[in-house]
Subunit: 475 residues, 3 copies
């Protein structure tokens, strides 16, 4: 019976039926997962689990939470301390991230692309077959593209692509990450699966897996590994470093000497967004102008890039497949918003995407309404908290005295929004006669509803607000 | 225990396991939903639930019916009485509809598109900022495109797009609607979810939801709504009209004065199908030539548009992504058919789609055969009834003395059919040797099977038929 | 209770919850199906069920096996004896096959395409309406394209497309087939469903269906069939040949006289791969240059076509949407490999696909590592055996004294691989500093890891190997 209960806990991917015989053992198993989404009560969510490493930690939101599971995603927050290195990792789902704080350099492995970053003088007049030996004399290192990342960057990673990040700044590097598990690129199940080229998870798996997690090389016979890499068995065993307890984020000893272009001045925002890397050598095969050099990140924190900009109210900036083409491939997009004090994001809903909103700074009141017209969330959301807003659900964001800053990930490469108030709103698109008959109001009242609010997206929120917030805080 | 049973009823989205302990409480919960389709017995289906409104009603087919659930759709029939207005509504899935009877005008909200329909003289030389006040003097109303719809129209609506319909005719306007819940555009669960910009469902939800359903605005704090729309709180509360018991289809008092182009003569069918709206003002932004003016409906009842036409036998007309490009986006298509008395739609199967066939007039005998070669349906289908024909299942339609008229929705933008008899049939594509060996028949017999029937799609059904029909009616 | 248990067995498409009350009846029902993949132990798989026919047999792998179910596929091996004819069949999922042995001719029904293969002189100056009668005099037969297939061919079939194969060689024709049930083209459930235009399965269904399976025509009223084909009822009943016990592969009596172009010499490999068929008649409608003549097979066994070629080590050849465009449509691809004795396929993982590897000859040791770094498979794989390698799972293949030949099907039209050793590997793409810090090794050791192995894909496996293999064989 114990074994059966165990099995139940392990198989959280479909609906479980509780019953008199097993009810005790099954407690804690979410019954609403599977095809049916229970979205009658949404919550402001915090991370529920932390995996610590030598030089940082990863904080996970519970991916079995009904809202997160219904949205088909998995969310985590990556904190890399100064001088910390997040070791090469990949996922079976595509990932979109936002750098909340700090700066660093990152690399992404694209199989088959040339190692276009090389120090010292390049190899000349040498035969391909001698490259290994020769390489050790003619240059120190060559590797694939390395890029600077910093506060405000949205980073897109395709399924199966290994990537690493090193914190070059003087404060922790904080990145909020979303795996789109329901994405077409993921051909495994709905569990978030982490594949490690290096590093491990000595605490045992997050997400209800109790066994220790090693890197990929650990599972091979060391003799096989030695033959594949043409190294001795002792070194192969070191690659499997199973005694290592540093986790997935390790502290770099001494300087981190990686070939990379100089960091441009932050004010050169236009150039920043189109890094071209160093001049290509004549041996390059052309591929690096295509997927090998595909742009994978975009800074959306620069006010000069705002899509909606209202002095004293705030701004909103989106990145979608038209601004960052790789998003077409991974079918995700993101929106960055800054709302100043006593302002409001006009009520709206997502037409074709789920939205995962993460507060990076400040606080605001968020109300969400479901398909039955019921209020399913009305809470203050603060820095570090997350709200899932399902497709079609209307919501409004109001700041009181503080700013409210957020990043929203959306599960569509070209997420569309329909606003419910303002110059581009659905109400304004309707004829007056539809409004008068729908709401049993006069023509004059309908005109006010359609034409009074001239703004789009953002507006000033006047009066009444503080009291409301206090009521909620008390409740 | 009662609570558990409740939970079971609520979570109809995945497989339920009945057992001795809970068997009673679980009765009525369909066990075959989830990944496995039980298609060994198909049925002719009627609506099982009606939601009444002031000026009409919506009749729903049970979306938990195994056939409908397996096809991944939800079907309803909308009846709008004379002078009735179906209030703005949207869905998280795309929708395809067919106007069975009557005529009306409809509008669809496309966020960000200009309000291109405006009465009186347009605004001139005015500043944008004064538009609200000014507008009330220089024009009566401006809103997005409004289109005439009438008997024979197929209407396509994308996920998240609000739409309304007003009955302008002198008889009830009847529309059969299909939501494609399994569509990639739906990012929620497999439950059909109705989002109301206005109106409500005072009877409590259809589809096993017992709570009353309000419009989207009801879930917001009225003070927030007042601020967003810059109206007073009293008017905001009227928008939430929670005391309203008129439902989702309301009676329009007096004339329905909406800006719209004149209705062209029905015989101008070619022009009808490409409405261009009134001349655009010079302020328009170009978008209205693209998604803002994307054609969303197509009349397929005009005999002049027939794809298959056989005098005295009938005709078949399809609309797919080549004739109505928006269908590429929502991945649905439709076929309209008229079969005269004593005729037959030759046996065939759908290669890449599920088909949902609805009888709009008359009656016919339909036989459906599953993957095991078993007859899973052999019944008379009459006006107002629906049959689900799963992908790959062969079927034949025979009329006796009456006409048979139908509309079929298919879950593929370019649904392909393979016929089993006639000049373009699979049997004719096969070499004679394959037929003689497969069926152990002579070369001469194989030749008859391949070449005797010269028609495609439709043929005359001679003799024997009445008797068969009577047998079935009796059984 | 018996009925309930029955129902449980029938609904294997979602998670089942075992419990004390029902545990006995539920035994044998896989608990891990549904959304959660249990991939902690992989196995080398053999077929578990054989359906015998008059002139051959079909061997099925258990599609409820967790690995196969998780991969979303169904696998079978088709053995057609000399002179055997596999009768026309289609599926609701796309299919990709590889001809392991033998040769034959095959036909594929494309609805609406012309019968471009015709013997004798073509019809001239005849009216369309007389074609049936006339045809019997002016020519013997006309039918759609027939193609030669042979050892080494990959064959792609779209959902709903009927196809037949005749063994023209002097040995059994052996074909390994994969149905991609999780493919977007399949709109039914996750059960493999076989639709038969002719033939049957007299033994009762495979895959847990106990009832006898007939051809599609059997389910229709014979009178209706007679009318549709304009034949007498007796002949219609013969088409339903329900007394036939020959199964789905029948023995052809006498010569198999089908119109077909002569088989070219096998050494003309380039021309072979682009068969154009006979000259088209002037009546053709143009369609046959498009989908009607779309290339559906490609020989990947010719060493001249190798993508990776290393004398004395082996070769690897892939076919994807760039080499066989129909694969873009069905979203599948295949890789053929030959590994000579004492060699190794370097460790790698699939970035965006599941891989189903089938051994066609010889044997090798395969190790697979999961996302936790655990070894989940380490076995000798022999001719006729199959291994499922999930997306992201790393694996290595080593031959000892024998060759190892395999075909891999991949669930992506452009499957991408990331190697873990060699010149294009992920390790080489990383900067030295990442390696030294990740594995706590010296710069010199990191250099060896990156640059020692110059090969890509294949390398020589030296020493140590025999002993390891023997250990495994003994265990």
């Amino acid at each position: 019976m114990v074994k059966l209960a165990h099995l139940l806990v392990a198989t959280f991917g479909a609906l479980l039926v509780l019953n008199g015989c097993l009810a005790r053992q099954s407690l804690g198993v979410p019954p609403q997962i599977g095809n049916a989404c229970n979205l009658d009560n949404l919550d402001v969510l915090q991370p529920t689990e932390t995996i610590k490493s030598e030089a940082g930690r990863v904080e996970y939101w519970d991916h079995n939470n009904p809202q997160i599971r219904c949205a088909g995603v998995s969310v985590s927050r990556l904190i890399i301390e100064q001088g910390g290195l997040y070791l090469p990792t990949f996922f079976s789902s595509p990932k979109i991230s936002y750098v909340v704080q700090g700066m660093g350099i990152s690399g992404r492995v694209v199989p088959g692309c040339a190692e276009t970053f090389m120090d010292s003088q390049p190899m000349q007049g040498q035969q391909q077959g001698q490259q290994g030996q020769q390489g050790q004399q003619g240059f120190r290192d060559m590797h694939q593209k390395v890029e600077h990342v910093r506060h405000g960057d949205v980073i897109a990673i395709t399924a199966g692509s290994s990537h690493w990040i090193y914190n070059t700044g003087d404060q922790p590097l904080v990145i909020i990450c979303l795996l789109d598990i329901a994405n077409y690129q993921n051909q495994l199940d709905r569990n978030p699966r982490t594949f490690r080229l290096a590093g491990n998870n000595p605490q045992g798996g997050s997400q209800q897996q109790q066994q220790q997690q090693q890197n990929m090389l650990s599972g091979f016979d060391p003799q096989v590994l030695a033959q594949a890499l043409k190294i001795d068995v002792r070194l192969a065993q070191e690659l499997q470093n199973q005694q290592d307890s540093r986790g997935n984020i390790v502290r770099v000893k001494g300087p981190f000497q990686v070939v990379r272009p100089p960091l441009r001045q932050p004010y050169e925002s236009e150039q920043w967004r189109h890094p071209r890397g160093p001049p290509q050598s004549p041996q390059d095969n052309g591929l690096e102008e295509t997927i090998c050099s595909m742009r994978t990140h975009e800074n959306i924190d620069d006010p000069a890039r705002a899509d909606v900009y209202k002095p004293n109210l705030g701004r909103v900036t989106s990145v979608n497949s038209y601004t960052l083409p790789i998003l077409q491939y991974i079918r995700l997009s993101a929106t960055r918003g800054i709302l100043q004090g006593n302002a409001m994001v006009l009520p709206k809903y997502n037409m074709n995407a789920n939205e995962i909103l993460y507060c990076t700074q400040g606080q605001a009141r968020i109300q969400v309404v479901n398909d039955n017209g019921q209020n399913v969330l009305d809470q203050q959301v603060q820095k570090g908290q997350l709200v899932v807003i399902p497709q079609g659900f209307a919501y409004v964001v109001q700041s009181h005295q503080n700013n409210f800053e957020w990043i929203s990930f959306k599960t569509n490469a070209n997420a569309m929004v329909s606003t419910l108030a303002g110059r581009t709103s659905a109400l304004r698109a309707l004829p007056l006669e539809v409004l008068t008959n729908a709401f049993q109001i006069s023509l004059e009242e309908a005109r006010r509803i359609k034409f009074n609010t001239l703004e789009t997206t953002l507006t000033r929120a006047r009066g009444g607000q503080p009291q409301l917030i206090e009521e909620i805080v008390e409740a």
